[in-house]
């Protein structure tokens, strides 16, 4: 599995925020209920999004999260990479993978590389706005 719940839930929450943008700050309790997700789990995911300025959080009563930019300025690829770590479908391509000594002669590596590129390109060409339609 390449896309886990972390990335998928992050996307769904952001999408929820996007669709209710006019409501201002939205409590995760509300989103959790609407999306039928665990509040605690969402909170963990939002921490990352908040620290990377994908959302703005306000504590206290009446607080919550809201998008930091326009839906059209969120690329799905960025969201997934942030939530999941890297969007790498094959271990050989991980950035911290010690270079395989067979890399020079490996007949499959080019295929994996092209695939990797295709995957990222696919998700980078979809925005939150696209998903709202």
């Amino acid at each position: 599995m390449m896309i886990s719940t972390r990335g998928r839930y992050a996307l769904r929450v952001l999408l929820d925020l996007a669709e209710n943008q006019n409501e201002g700050y939205i409590a995760m309790k509300t989103v959790a209920h609407r999306q039928e997700l665990s509040l605690k789990y969402i909170e963990r995911i939002m921490t990352v999004l908040s620290k990377n300025h994908y959302v703005e959080g306000v504590q206290g009563k009446g607080g919550g999260y809201r998008l930091a930019r326009e839906p059209k300025d969120y690329r799905v690829g960025d969201i997934l990479r942030l939530a999941e770590g890297e969007l790498v479908p094959v271990a050989c391509l991980e950035c911290n993978a010690k270079t395989c000594k067979r890399a020079d002669t490996c007949k499959t590596l080019p295929m994996w590389k092209e695939f990797h590129h295709m995957v990222n390109h696919y998700f980078d060409n979809i925005t939150l706005l696209d998903l709202m339609k």
Copy 2:
């Protein structure tokens, strides 16, 4: 991670067999050494390939495996699906996943479906012969 070692090793072994096709039956001991893979692990992978007639195995001294068809008749997608199980990048799409009750209204599902299709299409359009070049 979507493509694990099982699929990648299966591919490498088949590719090795393809490139040494004229040698007849090739012992996995040889391939394991050439590819720097664990013999025991390869054996487990080959069992599946053998049962599905991707390779023909002969026991005993001088035995080994050989391809059952021409390299051009092996699709990478088929090999990966056989070794890995399914080639599904997102859990919602697994065939045994109980249908999500949000599926009808889910705004992300179409994206996952298209992605899933793209992934399979990509690997189904590559053959062993392509990789040999």
